[in-house]
Structures are given as C-alpha cells and as structure tokens.
Amino acid sequence: MNKIALRANSLSKWFGDGEARTFAVKSVSFEAMAGEMLYIVGPSGSGKTTLLSMISGILEPNAGEVLVQGSDLWKMSSNDLADFRLHKIGFVFQDFHLFPRLTTVENVAIPLILQRMDWNGAMKEAKKYLEIVGLANKSELPPVKLSGGEQQRVAIARAIVSQPDLLVLDEPTASLDGDTGRKIVEFIKKNVLNENRCIIIVTHDNRIFEYADAIMKMEDGKLLGIERVKYEK
C-alpha cells in the first residue's frame, strides 16, 4: 500500500463577494498516492487549473487545507512555502516557460541554482537529468533550437532535477501533436514516476488517459469522482 503524497480537504476558491461570488473550486477533497499518476480532467472552466494551483502552493484557497507529506502548505509563511515548492514540488507548464537566452542545461539547472548549489555542481547535475530525458547531446543549445517535444522534455528535466516528491503538469500535451504527446506521457510514466513520487496532470486530452493510475473528474468547480485504474501497457 503506497503512502499518501497529497491530501486536499474541502478546498474552495471563489472570486468576488456577496451575490457576485463565483466558485472556481467548491469544497473539493481527495487524496493522491505516492507512485501514482493522477489526472485531473474536465471541460474548460471546470476549475482544474485553479485546483492544481492550490494544491501546488501557488494560489491560496479561500477555505480548506492542502497537506503534502503531512505539511499544511497554506499555514506556511510565503518564504517557507517558496522553499517548499523549490525542494518538494516540480512544475511543468503548458508553454514550458524555458528561458530562450539560456542554454538547455542552464534552464534545467535553475532550481538547483535557486537552491544555492554552486554553478559547476548544478550544471553537472542538470546534465545527468538531460541524459535521463535523452537530450544530453543538446545541452548547450538554446531551447528555441529544439522541437516542441524536446522542449517539453527539457521542462520535465527542470521539474525533476531537484527530485521533488510531487510533480504537477499543466496540459503537458496541449502544445504537442498527438504522437509526441503520447510519447512524452509514456516517458513520464516509465522514467519519471517512482514509488516515492506522485504526479498530477491537468489535461483534457483523452488520448493520454490510458497512462493514468487515477482520473479525477471535475465540472463547475466540483469533484465528480475519482476513478482509480490499473495501468497496463
């Protein structure tokens, strides 16, 4: 039995007050397990991204709590929370957000640099992770010289270089063609997921559903349910 990586209790986020109050996420509770790849799916405006932002410590909920490895994210000071994100949570953004003026390896090393690792050590470590994502030979190129799939893999390398326990990916296949998208998710499943790490993916790309361990459906800010499936590939 895997341990619980993340627990969300009655999470709510609303905008506006009084009659104008609109719920983006309404009283959502769930658990994500270590070693599990959990998808948050639903139509546009269902609150997927808002939920992802709250559970990854970048958008404060109006109500509820988020426990990652037993630590309540939203009871931490902003500096402690930033440190927690830096060490425990990896992010892969929809548009990758790689720095075009830095080389690939420098982009990957950014979390280590922020952790105050020395420059040479950070580059050495980043190169290891570029090897893991199969881009060791492109470490000195700027990201703009890479294909969309390769940039996605650089973003993944950057997200895992600090060995986070929780990895969150926002629409990882949205900028990629179907085949590349599937390959990326398959790669994540095989090479990035491990028994101590939980991966949460926000997507509405049903072509990659087959790789999920659990699928959480949302609509109008509410959780419709979690379906845990057995990945067999």
Partner: protein
C-alpha cells in the same frame, strides 16, 4: 546568490540586441553628460587661470569686477591703505590690460599684458628660458609659452616686435599652469612699462595682491578693505566669484544645465524603455521562476544586478568615449577648453545611478506584480 547573478547576467547579455541598445543608450547619455560638464568645467577653469598663474593669496578688487580680464582700475590709495593694514605682510599692484602686437607679416595680434610690480615682481611666472631680472631691460617682455604662443610666431629670446607702436623685446620665456579662456597670448612686463605702453584711464591698478602674515589675518584684512568700499577675496573666493558669474550671469551655465538634463532624459528614456521591454518579454519566465520557488528578493536581486551591470558598463564606456574625444580634440586644438574632474565624474555617476534605479524600479514593479497563478492560467 552568485549563481543567481550569473543567470541574471546571462539572461541580459545573451539578448544581444536589447543589451546593445541599453548599453548604447547609457553610453551615449553618459558621453553627452560628461562632455557638457567637462566643457563647462574647462571654461570655468580657464576663466580663472590668471588667479592660479599669479598665485597671490588675497586679491583686492572693485566689487563690480566679475573676472580678471575686465578689471576696474583702482586709485593708488587702495594700495597704500592695504599696506597699512595690520596683518598684511606686503601688498603689491598688478596690471592686466590688452594690447596689439604687430606681427612680421603686418597683421595684428591681440595680447594680454600683465604688469608686475617694478620692485618685487610679485606674481611673476616661472621661466623656462632667460632670466627674470632681464624684464627690467629696455622694452623687456616675457612671453608665456602656452597654447597661444604660436600666435606670436613662436618668439625666442631676443625676438623684437611692435606693441602699441612701441618697440618690444622678448627677454624670457615662461610657463604657466593654465592658458586663458579667450585665446590670446600673454606677455609679462613691469608695471610701469605696461601703463606706459597701454593707454590707461586716470587710475591704473587692476588689482592689489596681498600676502597676509598668516591665514588668520585674512578676515580682518577683508573687513578693513570692505570699509574702504572695495573687496578683498582669497584665491578660492575669487575663483568662486568668477565661476558664479559664468554660471548665472552669462547664460552659459543654464545652457550646459539644460543640455545635461536633456542627455540625462535621453539616457533615462532609452534605458527605462528598453529595460521595460526586456522585462515584459521575460515576464512569464519570471512568473515561472516564482512558481518554481524563487523568492521576491531573489528576483529583485536579479533585476538590480542586470541594471547595475549595464549602467556601470555604460558609464565606463561613456566616460572612456568622452575622454578619448577630448584627447583627440586637444591633439588638433590645443585651445580646446574641456577637462574631466572628479566632480564631473561623480555627478555623471549619480545621474547614472538614478537611471539604474529608475530602470530597476520599472522592472521590479512589474516582476513583483506577476503572480505564479497567472502562468498556469495562461
């Protein structure tokens, strides 16, 4: 933090287009600011050159006098009175006037004639050729070898010339620390010869030069001279008076000030605008850094190092360019009145720091406003 600074500098310098634009803007602004201030400083310095060259500690003058070249002659009793003041070691007259020298080709050249007290020669220049006592010889003049020397056709000892229809003879060549502002050569002679050769009004003394017994006596001397209706100024006070005249009563100061402000605004605009564009282009990336775990103070440090680095390089290039221009100009035009002083450099540095602070503020404000959630929301 060094790694973060390195990342910040790479982000900046690898964007060669914007980095060049930033550097060019700041370099150009610094160049203009330093040039303007250096020219003004050079003019002020040249305007006071006679005070430095004569070297007296205290000058007695008519209060309406604003610079050495436009003195108002004083009656002899001023000199007598000055000599009688307790605390005065000695006091001597000096004459400044203009004359015309007829050159060999028949053309005329304006000169400044300095007449030194016949007994003491107080305020004499340093000779590089000849003997000072030869100034007492018939028609003896000492020519100053400065940037204007060649206008007298590079005379040597023994050279004869015609000055205001009198015969003159060069008996010595002198050097002075600075040339004058108006581009005319200088000749030294005795006081009596000067007032004989140059048409004068009833009074002839341009200034009285005073050597006090001690610096503590100066306030008393000044007070006594004031009772007489004249002014006794120390060397520095006289230089300040001349500087104030050029700064506030000739239009020169305000023009230089306006040009300096325009240069500053040009630099501020180019730097602020380019840096703002640079930040806007990378704003989402800064947001992503925040999401990853960068703290606000780290992002602020990144921006500060970027602006500081750019402004320091731009400052260095601007100062280098300005001094190179001045050196080149002085090679071709020895009269070129521009000088870089520590005050100029400090003022330009302060203005560059303001440019850096403004550019940083623009960037910091934008970067601190971006929320990591905005990155997810797209």
């Amino acid at each position: 933090m060094l790694g973060i600074f390195k990342i910040a500098l790479k982000l900046l310098t690898n964007d060669k287009g914007k980095f060049s634009a930033l550097l060019m803007g700041i370099t150009f602004a610094v160049f203009l600011m330093v040039m303007m201030m250096a020219m003004f400083s050079g003019i002020l310095s040249r305007a006071s050159s006679s005070i430095d060259n004569v070297g007296a500690q205290v000058w007695i003058l008519d209060p309406a006098v604003n610079n050495v070249s436009s003195s108002i002659p004083m009656p002899d009793y001023v000199l007598d009175f000055a000599k009688s003041i307790k605390g005065v070691k000695h006091a001597e007259p000096i004459y400044f006037g203009g004359a015309l020298v007829k050159l060999r080709d028949g053309t005329y050249q304006g000169v400044t004639v300095v007449g030194l007290d016949d007994v003491t020669l107080y305020g004499r220049p340093n000779l590089i050729d000849g003997r000072i006592e030869d100034i007492f010889a018939e028609n003896g003049f000492i020519a100053v070898k400065d940037a204007e020397f060649d206008k007298l056709e590079n005379p040597t000892i023994g050279s004869e010339f015609e000055i205001n229809d009198h015969r003159g003879k060069i008996v010595g060549i002198a050097k002075v620390s600075q040339s004058g502002l108006f581009g005319v050569p200088t000749l030294y002679t005795t006081y009596n010869r000067a007032i004989t050769y140059i048409p004068s009004s009833r009074f002839t003394m341009s200034f009285v030069l005073v050597e006090p017994k001690s610096p503590q006596d100066i306030p008393y001397i000044q007070d006594q001279i004031k009772h007489l209706g004249y002014q006794a100024l120390t060397r520095d006070q006289f230089i300040d008076k001349i500087s104030s005249f050029y700064k506030y009563h000739t239009g020169l100061g305000i023009n230089v000030l306006i040009m300096t402000i325009i240069s500053f605004i040009v630099g501020l605009s180019i730097s602020g605008q380019t840096f703002y564009t640079f930040i806007l282009e990378n704003l989402e990336k800064f947001g992503a850094l925040k999401a990853i775990g960068a703290k606000g103070r780290e992002l602020v440090a990144m921006i500060l190092i970027q602006t500081t680095f750019t402004c320091l390089i731009g400052y260095g290039l601007g100062v280098g360019l300005a001094t190179s221009m001045m050196i080149l100009a002085k090679l071709r035009m020895p009269d070129y009145a521009a000088q870089v002083t520590y005050t100029n450099l400090s003022l330009a540095f302060v203005l560059v720091v303001i440019i850096a602070a403004f550019s940083s503020y623009v960037g910091v404000r934008k970067v601190l406003q971006i929320q990591p959630f905005d990155i997810f929301r797209g």
